[in-house]
Homo-oligomer: 342 residues x 2
């Protein structure tokens, strides 16, 4: 059971190495009590012999969203969807959420709070979870939304079980949320398909359960940090390497238009975060026969994008020679978070 990436999963949000280091401190060294089977190091902690998955996800104004990009309802929806995605990422079933709000006095009257909560409830309702509690406080300057999710984990799938020879698959299209962010940062309005990918990510709860029930998934993660970085988490936790094939990456068509070219689109798909699609490793051929059924059930593509190999790290096979290693922390990517502190 990996215990090395619980906090580091969000490394990209910081200025780089400093946050890496901080993450490693925070993972600490406490002995875990018997109720806890997975502590820091996966998308969720698993408690009570693994029967409950629990995770929290902090959304801050100026870091994860800006008010002029999203409505309050969308801010609430997105904060909850991102947290729920962590439950999908271990193939658990969301049950209950708690939400901590820090509301600014100036611009959040009762209607604002209601809109935020409506968004949270919309996301929770879409996957059968309900809000059971939370905390509410005034915030001096920043809108703060921290969402805690608890889920039933009858047969959790972690990120550490990928085996050499496995295939690597992803759901959905990649890069659209990152492309939206890029357009937002240029001061423009992204086209609807891109905006929707950023504002309304769909936690792939049903998809994860459907797949895990039908086939043995060796490793599973959600794509919050970008495929390059998240595949890196799977590779590191599993003690293996992963080769991604550029030609296979299901880049969202609208993202390709923003990226400006095929090569740039691949970079975006590898490096942009916030896709909240699933990435999984499974035995060769295992998912091939499920694909048609999956795609017709969910109207979401299921695509083989690479393979698990001996070694460590993530490599990109661009089709023009030997696979090249990706940068350790994933590609540098559109990251307005780095500017947020200024």
């Amino acid at each position: 059971m990996s215990r090395t990436t619980g906090f580091r999963r969000r490394v990209r949000l910081g200025p780089g190495s400093e946050f890496d280091l901080i993450g490693s401190f925070l993972d600490g060294g406490d002995d875990l009590p018997p109720e806890v089977v997975v502590g820091p190091g996966d998308d969720c902690a698993l408690i009570e012999g693994g029967r409950w998955a629990v995770s929290c996800d902090l959304s801050l104004e100026g870091v994860h969203f800006r008010r002029n990009w999203l409505t309050l309802r969308e801010i609430g929806y997105r904060a909850a969807a991102v947290a729920l995605s962590d439950i999908a990422a271990v193939a658990a079933t969301p049950v209950a959420t708690l939400v901590s709000y820090g509301l600014t006095p100036d611009d959040l009257g009762t209607d604002g709070a209601r809109e935020l909560q409506r968004g949270v409830e919309e996301a929770c309702g879409s996957v059968g979870a309900v809000v059971v509690g939370g905390d509410l406080t005034r915030s001096p300057t920043l809108l703060v939304v921290d969402v805690v999710v608890l889920g039933r984990a009858d047969a959790p799938v972690l990120r550490d079980g990928a085996r050499v020879g496995d295939e690597v698959w992803v759901t959905g299209h990649l890069g659209a949320a990152g492309a939206a962010l890029r357009v937002f940062l240029e001061g423009r309005a992204p086209e609807p398909a891109l905006r929707s990918a950023y504002a309304h990510p769909k936690p792939r709860v049903g998809e994860a359960l459907w797949l895990a029930e039908r086939e043995s998934l060796h490793a599973l993660i959600d794509l919050s940090d970008g495929l390059g970085a998240d595949a890196g988490h799977v590779a590191a936790a599993s003690g293996a390497g992963i080769v991604l094939e550029a030609v296979r990456l299901p880049v969202a068509p609208a993202a390709t238009r923003v990226a400006g070219g095929e090569r740039e689109a691949v970079e975006l798909a590898l490096s942009a975060g916030d896709d909240y699609e699933l990435c999984m490793a499974a035995a060769p051929g295992a998912l091939d026969e499920l694909r048609d059924d999956f795609e017709s059930t969910f109207s979401v593509p299921l695509t083989r994008v690479g393979r698990v190999v001996e070694g460590r790290g993530v490599y990109l096979d661009a089709g023009d020679g030997e696979p090249e290693p990706l940068h350790d922390a994933g590609y540098d990517h559109v990251d307005f978070r780095g500017d947020a502190g200024a």
Copy 2:
């Protein structure tokens, strides 16, 4: 099962009626899934047939602490202790915590994060809980610490079971944290006993379990909002009134010195939050015979402060006539939070 105060518990943190209203919205109207036996409305949500208690507590710079008042380690300790107190407040046993950090870039290097986490671990370790996960992100301006606590709830005690004729008891001394806050706000340094009460509240986990194992507690709450307001929560949830006797209130001696007089000290003890002591209702005489043993075991006083009566609301018996109703939302109290948004 009350569902009306889950968010409203923190009402005092806001400017009053607006936050009351917001809290009532946030309590929502979702049907609860069968796993959830108590949703919004108590110190914790209880899930899995009541066997797990879960709560979250958001601490924001400028609202719940200021950096020039507390060290980073104390900020971490306090954020976790306050969250753990919610587990004590239902007589559950803390097991696991998750912590969401929003760290500012300017003043939080790795040492700062480490100090925060040490404080969190100190509080958790003091009651046998461990940090199993969390989230880490950059914050543009404010230090943010949100602590989620999960606890085993073998026999949870809620706030809604007080019966007419019950006695109302509290642990510890009251008003010291509030007095510290008052001194801080005057730009001075509180004396050590006051500072410690504010910086190092002790979650009364062992005390709550000890009492609940030995005697039937009809209602239990922790004193986060001040005795007046928290007794009000018990009264409202239980459908009864509570009379507090001024002469019995265990005001901290150092708080009396800050308050400036006996009457002012009573006001402070009723209105100041952040005591994180326990308040409980039990049958007449039930706790009398436990008191000596409790006080020698924990070196913490256990004091009868009032009684449950017919009616609604909280009344103060000042010993000079009929009990007078306390202001609905508790006394106005030292509240630097109201200024924090300026």
